[in-house]
Symmetry: C2
Subunit: 366 residues, 2 copies
Amino acid sequence: MWLVTEDLLEPIATGAAILGTGGGGNPYIGRLRAREAIRQHGPVPVLAPEELPDDARVVCVGGIGAPTVGIEKLRDQQSYDALRAIEECTGEKATAMISNEIGGSNSLEPLIPAAVAGLPVVDADGMGRAFPEFQMKTYFVYGVPCCPMALADEKGNIAVIQDVVSPLWAERLARAVTVQMGCAACYAVAPMSAEQVRRTAIPHTLSLARRLGEAVAEARSRGEDPVDAVLATCPGKVLFAGKVMDVARRTTAGFARGTLSIDGLDDFRGERMSIDFQNENLIARRNGRIVCTVPDLICAVATETGEPVTTEVMRYGLRVTILGFPAPELWTTPAGLAVVGPRAFGYEHDYSPLGPASRSAPCSSE
Amino acid sequence: MWLVTEDLLEPIATGAAILGTGGGGNPYIGRLRAREAIRQHGPVPVLAPEELPDDARVVCVGGIGAPTVGIEKLRDQQSYDALRAIEECTGEKATAMISNEIGGSNSLEPLIPAAVAGLPVVDADGMGRAFPEFQMKTYFVYGVPCCPMALADEKGNIAVIQDVVSPLWAERLARAVTVQMGCAACYAVAPMSAEQVRRTAIPHTLSLARRLGEAVAEARSRGEDPVDAVLATCPGKVLFAGKVMDVARRTTAGFARGTLSIDGLDDFRGERMSIDFQNENLIARRNGRIVCTVPDLICAVATETGEPVTTEVMRYGLRVTILGFPAPELWTTPAGLAVVGPRAFGYEHDYSPLGPASRSAPCSSE
């Protein structure tokens, strides 16, 4: 058990935004919101999945919508409203909160209802990264019911997806409601048991995010390369480094979709990388050839500072390094790939796991 | 108390489709669906509002979506599924069903869950006609909560609008869910008390629909003018008569929207009427001048047979007579007009009640 205090929000947000593969909501906004809740209600205890009491009732909460909207129309404590709605709907009281995804803002989202309700959060999440759609959680892939789930907006509207024929239908209905709610809402899912969390969650990702963020800050303070520090903490590789030339981005059907183009610098001079995104980075092409796809992680960090650059704030001129990390094993099974492999996003490619770097690049994992 | 038996479905559907002002769902499809339920479970008792026990719990059900879709993707017993969902959600058992609107199909919708559950229906509805949007019910205008309301589709998906800041928000969220559900779903609203029904419903509209349908059938069998029979049963006036020249219709955002153009025949030769519709007929212009608007009723019947012609089956070449009927008084108050007056549909006109016929025409009410 450890405590999330105000001073830990910055490293967690930084690390989670790296793992968030461009999405999961803006880390700065998420940090400000969580800080308010902690200032008001005190620090939040973090329990590892193995520390959960067997009779725990764990509610997953998250923000839903387009990150491009989430930085303009700020959420308040709607995940607490959604928690209360799901408790009322199921007749069960939550005893702990858990993140839907380790993303910039969504990694911190459970801290808000946890602080308000005086509950702990679990050191785990349902993705081990961020994904754009509701059904894309290891919980649901491995048999946890995705319903009922409650959606709340800042106006006071509450909708409950009560029963669906598949988790994809929960996404369809919830997304349509979210668009009406103004494209930025919060949700809570019916409670999970401790056994379900231990069996289906990606464990210890809040700790990992914290360690990543601390490593980046420490490297910066020592004048060391923060990208090296990231790779020393979380095994992965450099896919590309360069200058952002274009971000073709549109907010549509409840998502921020688009393509990012980067011209190579240093080792990558004369080359080009393009990355398609749907809230999160989905597929990276180097000189037209695919080098990394979902569910492996494609993460952009500022080359100088190691700060993650999420898709909603990506812009022309930024110097970024693109990192690749292997997906958690729960995602690389046939059941996992059916939900988050390239074909689940409409691509005509099979998943091929992140191969060895095609040119020399700093990578602590090899 | 009277019983809806199989043989009464045809006159009720005919009369309700006349009152339905072009919408409320296809009367033929609605009749077939209600017939199946009655054949399987027996006739359904009808109680006048004044016959309801004081402790009655009355659930309003209806179809929602675009009538153009409802004739291609048939509903089954989803209003029963929605009833069960709302009972589970509120913890209350329904003791009677009530119609949301007297429209071709929606007038009969409550008979389906009523037959399945062995409950009576109330001889009343929430519009005294049909309107395209969920919030457009006298129930809600006069203070009955519009939430929770449950939506069910034919696949087995259930969504509940739990809490909204206004009835218009229930429409927005429910419509978005309906579009995802395939643009034809059913809903049920949290139970009303007998007092609420008596105070806010338009009473005796199921009986009126039955009488209208019986009058049309009787006139036809006697070789008399069925349009005269309609006007003798329900005071109103002939607005126009002619041949349909064009129907510009599109199914969009969960509605069937468009404009109908009619060239005059007989007394109206050389003139033209155009009618805008959104599921239901909204505004009628004769030679460009507005002659009837919501909430007054604009109803198209086949000139020869008196059969109502709903907007989803309206087509070039049909000979139709356009009838106007005054709106129920609950709609012509400032509170009513704010929800269903011309401005609520985006027109820059105030409501002006249906004036005297501008040319001689058969009208039993004058």
